[in-house]
Point group: C2
Chain length 110, copies 2
DNA sequence: GCAGTCTATGCCAGATCCGACATAGCGCAG
DNA sequence: CTGCGCTATGTCGGATCTGGCATAGACTGC
């Protein structure tokens, strides 16, 4: 649960400090980035579950394929605002988002 | 659970359709706005629990008192990005945020 | 190899947001 | 009423984000 996350961060254009893993980020920055990654992942999963292409999703969102690609990559030019709005437009509910952000609860194991 | 929310929306500068309550907002817009309101409330509660003034919080956030006031009011010039970053800087964790967004779980009543 | 489909990256102009400052409103002690 | 601490509102320049377009890359079937 490190190398993969690191890779994600880099692909997202975060230019993470090479050797120092992402210790260069303060606690709050790290948390924020994780929120973004979680939402981005949620968006991609939702799209795939719906069996849609990025282009189709873009149409539904009133955006472009390139923007959707960046959303899913949690690129730094993408805000949580955009991710949240997009998730909601794809039918997600507040609980879905809550689960994405805080995977802790673990609704009684199963 | 309507008039008060409506008031909040109006104070937040959302110019909600007068008579039509906020039915003028689409489902996803409404959900998004509620997320914002929830985060804003969370921020205010956190500040009050810490016994700080908006000015003091502003200092911790590297911002200004006016901006903090707008954050707490979920003003339209405030993004969820800003709210999330601020919450995290005030020590909130992902679970706290998750709870704010999806108050459903209800961790066994207590 | 080439075309077709899907996804990723770079760039831009217009829109939006951020922090800051000024100032107005509010509640309260003196 | 006046002053004082705190919060709310309006505005602005500079920073950041957004959608769109162009194009590059990855993968598949032919």
């Amino acid at each position: 649960m490190r190398a993969d996350k690191r890779k994600k961060l880099e692909r997202a254009g975060w230019t993470v400090g090479d050797a120092g893993d992402f210790l260069g980020l303060s606690v709050e920055e790290r948390r924020f980035v994780e929120v973004k990654l979680a939402l981005a992942d949620g968006l991609r999963r939702r799209r795939e579950d719906l069996g849609l292409t990025q282009g189709e999703v873009a149409k539904r969102l009133g955006s472009s394929q390139s923007r959707v690609a960046k959303m899913e990559a949690a690129h730094r030019t993408v805000t949580t605002d955009l991710l949240l709005k997009s998730l909601f437009r794809l039918g997600a509910g507040p609980e879905d988002v809550g689960r994405l952000l805080a995977p802790r609860p673990r609704r009684r194991a199963a």
